[in-house]
């Protein structure tokens, strides 16, 4: 049961910024309307961040991982999240075994 000081600092930083985003609306209320263009750009933030996050693991590791990412993306069109995770994991294991 240890807590690393840098880990604690990271957790505190994450907690503070997350709480700020969540209570910000209480001060903005909905008096401020964002320009549509800016709102659209803000809407794209989660997808853009998540895509960037998986890049090393999904696109810059090897063909097996890239293929497994493709399988997961297609599965995600129809299946619930847990099924997508199960399929992605299985595909990664299979492609790694096949491609070495």
């Amino acid at each position: 049961m240890t807590v690393d000081p840098f880990t604690l600092l990271a957790i505190l930083g994450m907690a503070v910024v997350t709480y700020l985003t969540r209570i910000s609306g209480l001060f903005l209320m909905s008096r401020v309307t964002l320009p549509r263009r800016l709102a659209t750009a803000l809407d794209a933030v989660p997808a853009a961040v998540l895509m960037a996050v998986i890049t090393p693991a999904a696109l810059a590791t090897g063909p097996a991982e890239t293929l497994a990412a493709g399988v997961a993306a297609i599965a995600a069109l129809r299946l619930p999240m847990l099924a997508v995770v199960a399929l992605g994991v299985t595909a990664a294991a299979l492609f790694r075994a096949m491609l070495g």
Partner: protein, 251 residues
Amino acid sequence: MALFSDAFMTVSPKFPAAPADEFRDGMITIVPMIIAALPIGLIFGALSAQKGLSPLEVFLMSAGVFAGGAQFVALEIWTHPAPWLTLTVSALLVNLRHVLMSASLAPKVARGFRPWQRALGFFVLTDEIWALAEQRAATRVLTPAWYAGMVIPFYLNWVIAATAGAITGTVLGDTTRFGLDFAFPALFIALIMSFWKGPRTGAVLAASALAATGTYLTLGGAWYVIAGALAGVLVAYVTATETDETGAPGQ
């Protein structure tokens, strides 16, 4: 405004029931979300343990940050010692969408909630909680009792599942053997696809992937997250038109 029109336009009861009934109602509402979040919490804890986080650290993060998406992102870019500034910035980026959610829900709790109830209630404003609260607010008055009934089990579920996953996680052994290390990317791909709104989303993803790959292969570190995010958002801004109907987060 919405309150008045709802009173005349829906047949649902407008006035809140007794607090105990409201609380129970909230608990019933959250059941499906709890079932969905339980295994995700266990996976989060287990993978945190793989990354070298102690159960206590997993507990602190889950209880203090309480944001599944941001926590998974943090784990993916986690190294030792923790790059705390990059982790904080990426948590901010991942959670920026909460600004819009919070702004849209704020007027609906302006009267029924005391200030401390608002401050505490919005601490746990995840995507799921926000969506269910908006759904409820469309036909009924939001009460602190209903909100608490929904949020308390959901919060405890996530914190306990993640911590339990961290305690039992190390028994998983070498995750690459069964492709388990790919659970993260697969989970994110599922999340990414849920944000899909057409070809313009494709352009955003392509820009993000290109910038992230380039940065990852040249600069290294965790800069690829910020580079990809900026490239994606820039493309979204450029391809957006003034007639877009979007603005509020979709439901």
